[in-house]
């Protein structure tokens, strides 16, 4: 067994221990950069408030972006794909059985033809 615990992946390799060490070094560098940041920042003051162009800030519970609003653009761009794919999921057991039977028949044709 490799003492460095390197995984041979065929064309390459993967060593998570080195990766974690590298990530730790990157983290230290990030902390150093962070420590060079603005020292005059005052927590809990108006400096924390978002700039909303003079509009009143809504209640925090009202500004959470809910799941239904996420990836709207992706779903809209892929509308043609989803228009065909989603209706196949009818929830009807008859359809489930038909798909299964159909695939069994298809497998049989493929296996027998290419025997």
């Amino acid at each position: 067994m490799d003492l460095l615990l390197t995984l041979d992946t065929g064309a390459g390799f993967w060593n998570p221990v080195f990766w974690v060490l590298g990530a730790a070094v990157a983290g230290v560098i990030a902390l150093l950069l962070y420590s060079l940041g603005e020292k005059g920042y005052k927590k809990g003051t108006a400096q924390e408030a978002p700039f909303l162009s003079g509009n009143p800030e809504p209640e925090k519970g009202l500004v959470h972006v809910r799941s239904g609003n996420l990836y709207w653009g992706f779903l809209d761009a892929m509308e043609g794909y989803y228009r065909r794919l989603v209706p196949l999921h009818t929830g009807d057991l008859h359809d489930y059985v038909l798909w299964y039977m159909g695939m069994t028949a298809l497998f049989l044709v493929v296996v027998v033809v290419f025997r």
Partner: protein, 525 residues
């Protein structure tokens, strides 16, 4: 230290203990819920320990043969049987041992979690009976060397699973999901039984090694192969026979869903066992290999793209389970496609199989973990609807940490275990067909995107007024999730150890039909 009786009889004990405990549990519950918890928890701990003892014995000493009712446990072929192994036997090779390890870890974590997560529900006597029967079914399926016995354990598993999917009733929706699962499982089991009848009629045998030795790949054998492949591909949730999966996974209690993942993988094991150990190079490996690869690619793509628009966290995770099954089918399918071509098998075939098989164990751990985190959230807020969640990271920090570990692992982010197995699949499949590898990588990106959405929806944002009083889940539930999270991290940090110790022997055992036959017909390894 371990009594020789336990080691020698571990194949039988690992199914007997949960089977007997399944029927003791309801009576124990009549005495007191604590007694039932003790019986169930104790039985599962003993089962897991015996299972791990057996697996380690197999990895140390090679394939284990256990013949029920024989004078000697390894006496596969009685002297007066005409060379036919007539008794039911368990043939536990490294591939079976890997599945045993998966089941032992997952089932123990799940029972630990269930003892708390289900404590307020009624009908727990039935719940634990069915749970332990599920474990019995899975352990039997992945250990048996007798194809009819495989069918019996598959039926035990299916019936118990259907009962548990319907457990919460949920206005009849859970029952509907269970009926769908049960009808499809029964039709699939009938197909498998028909295939077994074909083998028995043709070869006068039910022992898998003997059938493998005699198989001719006649037209009837081709029919039997198709019946088994289709049934088990449906059972493991391969697209386009996956429709039952989101229904059943989302309606079952989350702890059961975690075990259903393992159950699906037992079906996947049956599929791989059939094509490799039963048929091997007698079939057109390239043709059947590509069939499995296409199923894998369809599962990956359709699974992940159907996951993204889901609003119910468990349905979303169920579609991801389908998608991840695609990786396993892809990896092992590539290995099958080049079976018989030794240079290609050595160049990338074994690596693809190892990647696919490594992904089986990884997936069982991180997907089980993710389903348990979904259950933890339901335990506290009573909904799976992502649109009604938010800000739970403030109050359920440990659950959030476990979710992050599972989500990063499933998305293939280093250094978690999903990355290692996916990397093996990417590289080996790239050598076979680069397009397939690119598809697999794109699916990983979409998986990450999907789980970013889930993470944001559940845990991020301000504390919502309706969840102001939400607390972290109790310790035993955290412990159940913690076990799986620990395995995800350890397997991710030391993948080479896992691959060399557990995965590579499993892949080679699967590909080497001669070794499987010799272990039985030769009278034991």
């Amino acid at each position: 230290m371990i009594p020789p009786f336990v080691v020698d009889n571990s194949p039988a004990l690992m199914v007997i203990v949960p089977f007997v405990a399944a029927f003791i549990a309801p009576f124990a519950g009549r005495a007191a819920p604590a007694v039932r918890a003790l019986v169930v928890g104790g039985a599962m701990a003993i089962t897991s320990a015996i299972t791990l003892i057996l697996a380690s014995d197999v990895y140390a000493h090679g394939t284990r043969l256990y013949v029920f009712g024989a004078q000697a446990a390894t006496l596969a072929v009685p002297p007066d049987s005409g060379g036919i192994p007539v008794r039911i036997m368990f043939t536990v090779d490294p591939m079976s041992a890997l599945m045993l390890v998966i089941t032992a870890i997952s089932a123990f974590a799940v029972v630990l979690y269930s003892l708390t997560s289900e404590r307020h529900h009624s009908g727990l006597g039935s719940y634990y009976t069915l749970f332990l029967l599920m474990v019995t079914g899975i352990l039997g399926m992945v250990s048996t060397g007798d194809i009819f016995n495989f069918f019996v354990f598959l039926e035990i598993l299916s019936i118990a699973s259907a009962g548990l999917i319907a457990f919460r009733i949920d206005g009849g929706v859970a029952v509907e999901a269970a009926i769908k699962y049960f009808v499809l499982s029964t039709i699939g089991a009938l197909a498998i039984l028909f295939a077994i009848g074909i083998y028995y009629g043709e070869y006068n045998a039910l022992n898998m090694a003997l059938i493998a030795q005699r198989i001719q790949f006649t037209l009837l054998d081709q029919l039997a192969l198709v019946l088994i492949i289709a049934a088990l591909a449906m059972k493991c949730g391969a697209v386009p026979m996956h429709f039952w999966t989101p229904d059943a996974y989302s309606m079952a209690p989350s702890s059961i869903t975690a075990l259903l993942v393992v159950a699906s993988q037992a079906s996947l094991y049956g599929l791989f066992r059939t094509v490799f150990s039963l048929y091997n190079i007698t079939l057109n490996a390239a043709c059947v290999g590509w069939l499995i690869i296409i199923l894998g690619v369809l599962s990956m793509v359709v699974g992940v793209t159907m996951a993204i628009p889901q609003k119910n966290v468990k349905r979303l995770m169920a579609y991801h389970a389908i998608s991840q099954t695609g990786y396993m089918l892809l990896g092992v399918g590539v290995g099958l496609a080049v079976l018989g071509n030794q240079p290609l098998l050595d160049a990338f075939g074994y690596m693809a199989m190892e990647g696919g098989i490594f992904h089986i164990i990884n997936h069982a751990m991180y997907k089980g973990l993710l389903f348990l985190t979904a259950g933890a959230i339901f335990f506290r807020i009573g909904t799976y609807d992502l649109n009604r969640m938010g800000g739970l990271g403030h109050s359920m920090k440990w659950t959030m940490v476990f979710f992050i570990i599972g989500a990063l692992a499933i998305a293939g982010i280093p250094p978690f275990n999903g990355f290692a197995s996916k990397l093996m699949i990417y590289e080996s499949v790239f050598a076979f067909n680069p397009v397939l590898s690119v598809i697999a990588m794109v699916v990983s990106i979409l998986t990450l995107a999907s789980f970013v959405k889930v993470f944001h929806s559940i845990f991020m944002g301000p504390v919502l007024p309706e969840y102001r009083d939400v607390r972290e889940v109790p310790g035993p539930m955290l412990a159940g999730m913690g076990i799986l999270a620990l395995v995800v991290i350890v397997f991710g940090l030391f993948p080479s150890v896992v691959v060399e110790t557990l995965v590579a022997p499993a892949a080679h055992a699967l590909a080497d039909q001669g070794m499987y036959i010799a272990a039985v017909i030769g009278g034991g390894a």
